[in-house]
């Protein structure tokens, strides 16, 4: 295969992988602190993207035309709004169900996801239709044979990487990160050591949801289109990525996210009969992986004691 073409595939895969990873990291964070799956995560991403779009439209009609300013405003508004939404979800839907079976939490967040999705569909103006998302990043490109490197894609990739590195530093180098890790490891002990459990949970949900908003904007900038259903698909893939990586591990989420994107890309290139089967291929491998490693590739360091 042509080297340029190969590079193009790698670039496509990396972009997909970055978006999956940002979603998967959220799943893993929530699981870490509360041992729950918050399935509305993908739809928080949708709401984040729509919030950003509304901000853009609002500012444009108010006469703001500076691209960096618009982008910054979109990021700030969407991230803050989703962080707040994440905290509300944690406080009023997830925490009250702590003593209930895990299935209940899974279902309630699934249903919340449905609610968010339907709210966008019904109450955002013409929300049922796909919405064009503005291209705010410079679109200059370099053509190297079959490989077309666009500046906006490179920027987004870098931005995604920065977000993950930032999160990693936050978790490993700050007091807050220490508290989060403490709660993730052992809630009871963390409490006795004076960690404010509720605050840590709320902050974790805020961080995870902010990442979703970030991913939502990235998705919008990449495809130049958003729709009310995008979060469902991304959410499921993010969930799958977090699981095959191993829940509760950031590295697992990163591994899972890029692995899933790689599977899809390989599915397209290597399956000679039809590229349309790429998702079938990817999910088949996911099921096989989970059968082989029932608790993910990077396994939780806890064994069940009787």
């Amino acid at each position: 295969m042509d080297v340029g073409l190969l590079a193009q595939y790698v670039m496509n895969g990396l972009m997909l992988g970055m978006m999956y990873t940002l979603v998967a990291v959220g799943f893993t964070l929530f699981f870490g602190v509360l041992d729950i799956i918050k399935f509305s995560h993908g739809d928080v991403l949708t709401v984040g993207a729509f919030t950003a779009l509304a901000t853009y439209i609002g500012l444009r009609s108010a006469g703001v035309s500076s691209t960096p300013l618009l982008l910054l405003a979109m990021l700030v508004v969407a991230i803050l709004a989703m962080a707040a939404l994440g905290m509300l979800i944690a406080r009023y839907l997830v925490m009250p169900l702590r003593s209930a079976p895990a299935l209940n939490t899974l279902l309630i967040t699934l249903m919340l996801g449905t609610v968010l999705r339907e709210l966008v569909r019904l109450f955002y103006p013409q929300g049922a239709n796909p919405k064009p998302f503005p291209a705010l990043l410079p679109t200059a490109s370099i053509n190297l044979g079959q490989f077309n490197l666009r500046l906006d894609n490179a920027l987004m990739l870098a931005a995604g990487g920065l977000a993950i590195v930032g999160l990693q530093l936050l978790l490993n180098r700050t007091k807050l990160g220490l508290a989060i890790r403490a709660v993730a490891q052992d809630e009871e002990t963390a409490r006795t050591m004076g960690v404010n459990f509720t605050a840590v949970v709320l902050i974790t949900f805020a961080i995870g949801s902010a990442l979703a908003a970030y991913a939502g904007i990235m998705n919008g900038l990449y495809y130049n289109e958003i729709n009310f259903g995008m979060g469902l698909y991304l959410g499921v893939i993010g969930f799958a990525a977090a699981i095959i990586g191993g829940l509760g591990s950031i590295y697992g989420a990163i591994l899972g996210g890029f692995l899933f994107a790689a599977l899809q890309t390989i599915g397209t290139v290597a399956l000679p009969f039809a590229s349309a089967y790429k998702d079938v291929f990817a999910f088949t491998v996911v099921i096989a992986l989970i059968a082989w490693r029932p608790t993910g590739l990077i396994q939780e360091k806890i064994s069940e004691r009787v």
């Binding site: 699981f31 799956i37 839907l93 009250p96 169900l97 209930a100 895990a102 299935l103 209940n104 899974l106 279902l107 309630i108 699934l110 249903m111 919340l112 449905t114 609610v115 339907e118 709210l119 019904l122 499921v236 969930f239 799958a240 699981i243 095959i244 829940l247 039809a274 349309a276 089967y277 998702d279 079938v280 999910f283 088949t284 996911v286 099921i287 096989a288 989970i290 059968a291 029932p294 608790t295 993910g296 009787v306």
Partner: protein
Amino acid sequence: MSEVMQKMRAPLLPGVVALALSTAYLIALLAAEKQALIIGLLAFAVVAVLAAHYLGWLNLVSRSFADQEDVLGIYAILAACVVAAFFHDNHFVLLLFVTVLLYTVATLGLNIQFGYAGVLNFAGASFFGIGAYTSAVLSTYTAVPHLLVLLIGGMLAALIGSLLLVPVLRTRGHYAALVTIAFALLLKTFLEVNNVLGGPQGMQVKGMSILGWSFNDNFEIGKIEMSFYLNYFVVSMLLLTGTFVLVRRLERSWIGLNLDALRLDEIAASCFGLDIARWKITAFLLGNFLIGIAGALFGMVGGFVAPNNYTFADSLIMVSILLLGGIGNPWGLVVATFIVVVVPEKLQTIQEYRILLFALIVIMMLLFRPEGLLPRPVRRYFPGWRA
């Protein structure tokens, strides 16, 4: 002894009255056309049920159902027939009714898996779809007798489901949820990209016919024209009755006991010598088999199958029915299916908002009544005996 037990049986009357009232109510609701009337009827139902609950009548009814299930079961079948007869020429109401019956069969299958054995299945709609596609393919390309098609639909669902056995057995909790979720997505995408099975376009399904009796033609009894859906009603009712009896028997047998033990504590159950894998497999396959049969019949009723009918969201609706009805209680499932299928259909004004409302209702249920509308009662080892 037996005399004492006879005496301690709860009276039949509350159950019969409840059934009669629900039948009358159901007919009124299904026949109602005006939106105001429908909203009024629904509000009335909520108030009536709440009132009955606080007056203790609901308790009487449920005791009556618990003790006199056999008799009341037969009355329930009669009630369903009365409703069907009342709407004998109304295609749409009968279609709705048949949908309810078949969804109930499918959720009964899920109930065996999750309610009894505790095996998560987020791909209920996928197995339903496998059944439906089976009848599409077999009725289009082969001359296999249609009753056999139903059976094959069930067997295929179980067979394809068995591909998931290894991951299902090896995983727990959230990891187990992923297995069926991934399968649901995989199957939908597969159906979409696979040209042989009609792709996203879907396939037509021929109507059922048994011994030359074509189910898709209207027929007449005396001078009265009957809707062809009445045919399907009869078959669906038979299927539901059979499934219901099977599930009930299963629950009360030692198999049901094993499954309960397995769900409540896997480790303890295996300490007592239960073969965990064996019973999980049994429950998973049997559940999928039932879902597949219901799906095969539903394919024929609808006359059309498409990948979009069997998405993850549809599986979620099935799980929600289970939860709404009260996990593990077959009677609760019947009620919950009626609510989930019929109410949005009748409430045209909320047509657009129905998914939203439905999701909100489930969230409320989970927050305030997580055990469902009719929670499964504690297992009773002796009929008539109450602690």
